[in-house]
Point group: C2
Chain length 346, copies 2
């Protein structure tokens, strides 16, 4: 089989690799039909985080079950399934409470499981991890492309909204116009927010934000952006969704939050250790900071129901489509910000 | 009148100063009968934060109303009152929602209002700030000493517990054995916590923690302390109260929190900018961080009811008593950790 492999910063190669095999009764092997490239893949692509050379990459697979171990009961060969970016046993304390990302089994994509950007993957704990697409929707290409973001960004944007305690009638600020920020706008709109102020720096992305439900957009940078939001909200918002994951954007979130407000954050907070977090302002204003790595498995069913029901469609975040051979080009497009998110169709 | 005045790091002097005067119809002048020295006073005393030379200090006054402006309706001359460390108008958006510390009027002790460690203070917004002690308790010295911590540390400890979402049956970790940490133990116990693990470094203070309801104490330092708590809680607690306010203690809170747990923090987070906060661990474990400067005015009535009802007594935190002339000695005792908290009786 063939798969995308990391060969060093800026280098993704498509190579022949061993087929994954069932070696535990709870495993399932999936033939990947659709996957995506994630903003978080750019961290290792840009050499900003470590990645072993030769590692298979990708963590957002969707596809058809090829084979299952003897204890797997929730899916069977032929089923179309979504595999969230975090693998979860479904049975430990944390999975039981919905925090699948803290599963005690600590399994992940890569290694023997393979990466999402490859022809096949093995999912350990198939019953705890996989989400079945109802058969009547499994052959509809348009629907599948809408469902694919359930593997990561749609659930992550939703986690930002839930963590920011967004509810009906609220005024919400969403920081970031990447795939997660845009998914966050969708999620806030779905949860009933009345005003959604989207902050970002790209006109084309902010246009999608408006399609997704943003009532106002703020394209300014730095202090000008903060002043604009302060002005629009008469002193800050009670609900702020931080969808970037950097010191500057975290501090922007703190500055645009209203005293007693809640910041939901879902971007890996790179750079905070060195560049600082304005905790003193958080302290003075009694801000709540919650969120973290999104347990997207927990949100899959409710979001899928709305997608299948026709009221939710995140697929406009895919602004470029490639096949497996096009994955290296997909990374380049995302690195250059020529694409918001790249869909990979095998 | 006489008052404690800051004369430079390590120097508190008792000096003759002008009497505060009513100059707004919402003011009240209070003759201070009891006050205290706060752990946060040590920051300027040690030269770690700025304080204007000549400034009158102290922010925890209790006393008898001497005179009120013509619009004051909730207290009258002769009433015994408690004045929380934050002055609040009682009528703005934030006061109305209980976040008195974010009052838009931004009034504070010091300057023309005088400091709590002086014979008289002026309280602007008397109706929004002062809490009346019921007449039948106003002459009981023992009761007054129990009520004085409502001006700051008892409400602050309670805010840590509320922010950590402590409830009946919970296992709670309290970090810090100063007056706020000990008040936090009391608050957690009052809210029904089943297990309270108190972390600190002083045997005598941890003994008070046990009197206050701590079921276990951890006196170890650094990694040994974290390991001990991890062991006691089988991997961390869902409720952590950070009652110190420093980078190291914040990071300890993160390390002893269970995935999905909530950290309530109430100590001014000095040093976090330079020494860092382990936000990446918070992110991985989906920890919630909430709290900040405690709106003690909001908690005064409910806590006072329990003190007057005989079920709550924070007064053991006062391990040294001085008069006004003894205030400099009181600062020294707290700086040297010879006293947990100093009571000042005029």
């Amino acid at each position: 089989m063939r798969a995308a492999v990391f060969r060093g910063p800026g280098e993704i190669a498509i190579e022949e690799v061993p087929m994954p095999e069932i070696d535990s009764p709870t495993d399932a092997v999936i033939r990947v039909t659709h996957t995506a490239i994630c903003g978080s893949d750019l961290w290792f692509y840009r050499g900003q985080t470590d990645m072993t050379e030769g590692e298979r990459v990708g963590h957002e697979p969707m596809g058809i079950v090829e084979e299952v171990g003897e204890e797997v009961t929730s899916v069977k060969p032929g089923d179309t399934v979504i595999a969230p970016f975090a693998i979860s046993c479904g049975e430990c304390e944390f999975c039981r409470k919905g925090l699948y990302t803290s599963c005690v089994e600590e399994e992940s994509w890569g290694g023997e499981n393979g990466g999402g950007q490859g022809e096949y993957v093995k999912t350990p704990y198939a019953d705890g991890s996989l989400v079945k697409v109802p058969d009547e929707h499994a052959d509809d290409e348009g629907t599948l492309e809408k469902l694919l973001p359930l593997t990561d960004v749609l659930g992550t944007g939703h986690h930002a909204a839930v963590s920011a305690e967004v509810g009906p009638g609220d005024t919400v600020v969403v920081i970031g116009d990447g795939a997660v920020g845009l998914s966050g706008v969708l999620a806030a709109q779905r949860l009933g927010a009345e005003r959604i102020i989207a902050m970002g720096h790209h006109e084309d992305r902010l246009e999608i934000a408006e399609e997704f439900g943003a009532t106002e957009t703020v394209a300014e940078r730095g202090d000008a952006a903060i002043e604009r939001v302060q002005e629009l909200t008469n002193g800050g918002s009670n609900h702020v969704m931080e969808c970037v994951g950097a010191s500057a954007s975290m501090n922007t979130a703190i500055e645009v939050a209203r005293p007693d407000g809640t910041i939901g954050y879902v971007g890996v907070p790179y750079g905070v250790e060195t560049d600082g977090l304005d905790l003193l302002s958080m302290f003075r204003n009694n801000l709540t900071l919650q969120g973290g790595v999104a347990p997207v498995r927990d949100y899959a069913e409710e979001l899928m129901a709305d997608i299948l029901g026709g009221t939710l469609d995140p697929s406009p975040i895919f602004t470029k489509t490639v096949d497996l051979d096009g994955v290296p080009e997909g990374y380049e497009a995302m690195d250059q910000r020529d694409a918001i998110k790249v869909l990979v169709k095998m």
